[in-house]
């Protein structure tokens, strides 16, 4: 795509990839356990979530929770504590399973029977860019009607395809869409 930024931030612009902002917002909307995984309350809650049924356990194993039933049992009964590496893995697996579980519901809310959701795009921060190089980049809003690809790749935990999906979406902003590849925030409600 010719509009893509080649060397973002070279002149001091600040921002994050639009798709990262979308993923962040979707995570926020998905909600979940707020307590950090390092606290006992946090990791036990995550483990309980992951072992609630055989289906979720299967999903967790598919997502990378490769420990034996014995170990899981020991963790859940409080005999042992997961190691640091395992805590990290539990968090990742929890996030993946949670995303997967929430995705269907979230997708329905965002698509709203084809009416879509209004998305606000807050442009990148140019405060550190030298004055002559600053450009007028406006705050934009757009209605996104089809969220299937965005939510699908977010749920699958695939940042590259999410990025591609988001880029295909913001092309609808018009010829200046390249200015919105990096943003400070992307806001929408579900």
């Amino acid at each position: 795509m010719p509009e893509k930024n080649i060397d973002f931030g070279r002149f001091g612009a600040q921002g994050i990839k639009g798709s990262d902002a979308v993923a962040r917002k979707l995570d926020e909307l998905a909600g979940g356990i707020a307590t950090p995984v390092t606290a006992k309350r946090g990791w036990t809650a995550r483990l309980h979530y992951l072992t609630k049924s055989t289906q979720t356990l299967k999903a967790a194993q598919d997502a990378g929770l490769t420990v034996t039933h014995r170990t899981l049992k020991a963790w859940l009964e409080g005999e042992r504590r997961p190691s640091k590496a395992n805590l990290k893995r539990i968090d990742q697996v929890y996030r993946a399973v949670r995303r997967h579980n929430v995705a269907r519901h979230l997708l329905r809310r965002l698509n709203r029977d084809g009416r879509g959701t209004r998305v606000e795009i807050h442009p990148l921060n140019q405060s550190q860019v030298p004055q002559p190089l600053q450009r007028v980049v406006e705050y934009r809003t757009m209605n996104v009607r089809r969220w299937d690809r965005i939510v699908g790749s977010w749920a699958a935990g695939d940042p590259q395809s999410l990025d591609a999906a988001w880029q295909d979406t913001i092309v609808d902003l018009g010829s200046q869409w390249g200015q919105y590849e990096y943003v400070t925030n992307v806001g929408f409600a579900a």
């Binding site: 917002k25 909307l29 707020a34 606000e120 807050h122 405060s127 705050y139 809003t141 400070t184 925030n185 992307v186 806001g187 929408f188 409600a189 579900a190």
Partner: protein, 525 residues
């Protein structure tokens, strides 16, 4: 040949000049037609000042004169025919008036054109429309509904034979109405209005107030008039309805409501149940010592405090960080300040509320403006606050103004009519709108914790200013609490109006307090 064509057209142009009525008549015609100078000038393609010239002595010439004459002639005939029908219909009562102004081209209208006897908006219809009561053609429209004015004309179709007593035909639409002369003043309006479908009866009411009324009526109908059930149902949908109302009131507005801006960390909750770092300056103050003697204390309640607080300087876009700058009146947001010393704790609450910790704190725009105002030359109650850091954005006071006025109007009407359902609904709308506009899961469409803090602080600042007003007028302020509670000693009725409007106060409670002749009586609650 072409030369001769040009000459011919010139010769055609040279003819008798169009006749124009005298100057006063020109003006009168225009005014009676309720046309402004600007309107007429635009239609003729001249400037309004030129038109004033023509109406006060000068005469137009050439082509424009023909146009002007055509316009005046048209107005003249229009007004003349309409007044003729009126006078024909009206009995002798109207005649003397018309003969008074015989000098003018057309008979004049009733002396006070803007006023109707009963204040109703009676319009004449050129083409009769079915009466809302009996369904037969009626020549007048009152408050948007075509209807007969005399009960004799208006008979339900079931009883009155439709063919036997036909309604007034189109040629004589006002023949049977006693009130018809009232309408002579607005001939133009009457014709204009009947054209479009805009004022037809039983159309959906448009606009924000209509939205509220519609919702209440719909829910009441759904619950078959069960007031409690309807109120409960309305309270449940108050938040989405408030958002819809907000969208409605922002139509065609200058600024977008930006619902999901980037939010600085100070405005984010530290933990799931915790608070963020903003100090809202909630007053929670009781006077330490009462003036000597026994007093009757009145607890006053400020009506619709949050509703009034919707009028505040709200930042529009994303908050931008700045340090060490002076206060900018055109921006609004949150500021890290060191508050000034407050030396009037004995008689007035501290404008930053009951703050236990010393040192700098994050306050919102209304609190800062209050402090700046109090430190200004007019009051000189404290030193100016020191601003260290700010997160601000360009601000406007009018962002929620239409929204506020729509709710206020609905509230006023509900109070007037004793309509508790609408009253509760409106109250739930504004209070829940304010309380959920931050990081609430109940309203995800708006994510503006900054606005929430600002509106609350504005309510507190408003209460504080009421306390100051009471103090300045010689009342003793005993307690200022929360958003709407103010306890005073003295004749408060000369300071505040009593009532239920948003500018008025109501009495919550009265109690006696103070020491009785040296002996400590304590506070009666």
């Amino acid at each position: 040949m072409s030369d001769f064509d040009a000459i011919d057209s010139l010769l055609d142009a040279v003819g008798p000049e169009a006749e124009l009525p005298p100057c006063q008549v020109r003006r009168e015609l225009r005014e009676r037609a309720r046309l402004s100078k600007a309107q007429v000038a635009r239609a003729l393609g001249v400037s309004p000042s030129t038109l004033s010239g023509w109406e006060s002595g000068r005469d137009p010439a050439g082509e424009i004169r023909t146009k002007y004459a055509y316009l005046l002639d048209g107005l003249n005939t229009k007004l003349a025919t309409e007044t003729a029908t009126e006078t024909e219909a009206a009995p002798a009562a109207e005649r003397p008036l018309t003969s008074d102004t015989a000098a003018t081209v057309t008979p004049s209208s009733s002396p006070d054109p803007g006023q109707d006897e009963d204040g109703d908006d009676v319009e004449l219809l050129v083409v009769p429309e079915p009466c809302v009561l009996c369904g037969r053609p009626a020549g007048q429209r009152v408050a948007g509904f075509a209807q007969h004015l005399a009960p004799a004309d208006c008979q339900p179709t079931a009883t009155g034979a439709p063919a036997a007593a036909p309604a007034p035909p189109a040629e004589q639409p006002t023949a049977q109405t006693p009130k018809a002369p009232l309408c002579t003043a607005r001939p133009v309006r009457a014709t204009e209005r009947s054209k479009g479908p805009a004022r037809h009866a039983f159309q959906e009411p448009s606009g924000p107030v209509g939205l509220i009324r519609e919702a209440v009526q719909g829910v009441l109908a759904e619950h078959r008039g069960d007031v409690d059930a309807a109120t409960a149902a309305l309270l449940k949908r108050a938040i989405p309805d408030a958002m819809r109302l907000l969208d409605e009131t922002r139509k065609g507005a200058r600024y977008d409501v930006i619902a999901h801006p980037w939010i600085p960390d100070i405005l984010k909750k530290q933990t799931a149940r915790g608070a963020d770092q903003i100090w809202e300056a909630r007053p929670k103050w009781t006077r330490h010592e009462l003036p000597p003697g026994r007093h009757e204390v009145t607890a006053l309640d400020i009506n619709g405090a949050y509703l009034s607080a919707l009028k505040t300087h709200l930042p529009l876009g994303q908050l931008e960080h700045s340090t060490g700058l002076a206060h900018d009146r055109r921006r609004s947001g949150v500021h890290l300040i060191t508050p000034p010393e407050w030396e009037h704790e004995a008689v007035l609450p501290n404008p930053i509320g009951q703050r236990d910790e010393p040192g700098p704190l994050w306050v919102t725009e209304p609190t800062l403006r209050l402090l700046l105002r109090l430190s200004g030359p007019k009051h000189q109650l404290c030193a100016p606050p020191q601003i260290h850091e700010s997160y601000t954005s360009g601000a406007t006071e009018n962002l929620l103004e239409k929204f506020r006025i729509a709710l206020k109007d609905a509230r006023d009407t509900a109070i007037e009519q004793g309509d508790t359902v609408t009253l509760e609904y409106v109250k739930a709308m504004y209070s829940k709108f304010v309380s959920t506009m931050g990081e609430s899961n109940y309203n995800r469409e708006l994510y503006r914790p900054d606005w929430m803090h600002l509106i609350r602080s504005q309510a507190f600042a408003n209460l504080w200013l009421k306390a100051l007003k009471a103090h300045d007028e010689g009342l003793a302020v005993v307690r200022a609490m929360g958003t709407d509670e103010l306890h005073v000693i003295g004749d408060w009725r000369r300071v505040f109006a009593e009532g239920r409007g948003v500018t008025e106060v109501k009495v919550k409670d009265t109690y006696a307090a103070g020491t009785d002749a040296g002996e400590h009586a304590g506070e009666g609650e």
